[in-house]
Symmetry: C2
Subunit: 283 residues, 2 copies
Amino acid sequence: MRIIKSVSEMQSYADSLRMAGNTIGFVPTMGALHEGHLSLIRKSIEKTDKTILSIFVNPTQFSPSEDFGKYPRDFERDEKLAEDLNVDVIFYPSKEAIYHDGHSTYTIVEGLSAQLEGESRPSHFKGVSTVVNKLFNIVKPHIAFFGQKDAQQALIIKKMTADLNLDIDIFVCPTIREDDGLAMSSRNIYLSPDSRKQAPLIHQALKEAESLHLNGEKNPEMLIRKITDTLNSAPIARIDYLSIVNSETLLPVESTNEGALVVVAVFFEKTRLIDNILLTTSK
Amino acid sequence: MRIIKSVSEMQSYADSLRMAGNTIGFVPTMGALHEGHLSLIRKSIEKTDKTILSIFVNPTQFSPSEDFGKYPRDFERDEKLAEDLNVDVIFYPSKEAIYHDGHSTYTIVEGLSAQLEGESRPSHFKGVSTVVNKLFNIVKPHIAFFGQKDAQQALIIKKMTADLNLDIDIFVCPTIREDDGLAMSSRNIYLSPDSRKQAPLIHQALKEAESLHLNGEKNPEMLIRKITDTLNSAPIARIDYLSIVNSETLLPVESTNEGALVVVAVFFEKTRLIDNILLTTSK
């Protein structure tokens, strides 16, 4: 397994892989790898010839009040996990390699970036779409892999890729959960023991809404009320947003018939967790 | 010479050129080819294995009050000129092929886009950088060629390419002029006979400033006064902006010692012409 830190070396290596006829799979991460990331890597290895994992904690997607400084970093552990899965390259650049002095170009997906997460975290998606566009230009993948846990992010990356004519397939993989239903996230380690005990209620509440929906309840307000009640039974939980939206436009739906997405962000003390569930018409 | 109208066909063809070991040169244009464009094409043919010319009048860089509708279009003439120069491919997409319904992603070079042209034409460079980024992703060139006549545009494209880690060299070619000094532009055909007669005064004024500078005048205000006087001797001319700026940052300079760029936009009746001259320390 190669570890590449330089942008130009990564680009040349990607060129040489392509010239040799390989398809390149790409899994962009901020490190602190968990089973969710590993499922993306496994999918990439299954579907492509060479898998490149990037590890870069992207400063531009954090606001000054957020956890950029204390975001979990453990390169040696990540490296071991990647090696065990037969990743071909880890692209592991410094902050300076990605953002040179005077960097001032941004890739902005208007519309989709403003709502939900974007409302709670202004400029977050500007940072995400910019860094992913940059990483795409550096790693030159044929297919890139993202998790459904960050549903809005996956949608924004798909939209950016289509709108900018990036010749890359975006593959979205299912959310991976702990045994008790909590969605895997690098931020779960921030949870206090009490919060950790109560956090699985998020998934439980979404599953209850799904079940009501499958039993015929199509009124988003009724489903939102039910989810709110369940979440309120966790004394520590504080809902940041909860909405039932069209899974393409992210705009609120009036009825849950048309493949609606239930999206939620919940604070447990200072830790903000997000999750979602896609409502289908049958199970 | 191939004419390709489909985005995916252009991408596949670019891939096949690259797989065969060719370097790709790219000349993006809005058609209405003149000697300026042809000089870019010749340079591309000299420096690369395959030259791709795009012809696309980009709606997003025109404001509603500008000349998108009447911008000169003559594909057959352009095709003949390209064929005579041995262009390999003309990429000639429809508006719908480039901007699908609901397109909402923009590439924005902050800072450089706001001043000079950007002040007179708000959102112009947002359209330019977005379409060039898209065309880069479609044509996949190794080198792209731009004209120094649009100095600010060339600088913004260079900045975008560096900031987004696009693996493309940007090559800027000198302004090509009519015998009387008027910079070649597709918009020159709009000029009335009287305006056409007076328009070479722009270049004449810039040359006078250059000559003063070479003779030791380093005060931008003095040079601007001289240029203004000369331009005012053309009864039809109306200065839109005139500034002496740093050739990298486009910010006004206090002295013309450090490779300053004189940039000017002048209206002749409804037609707006731009030009510039780089002040060097020796000739």
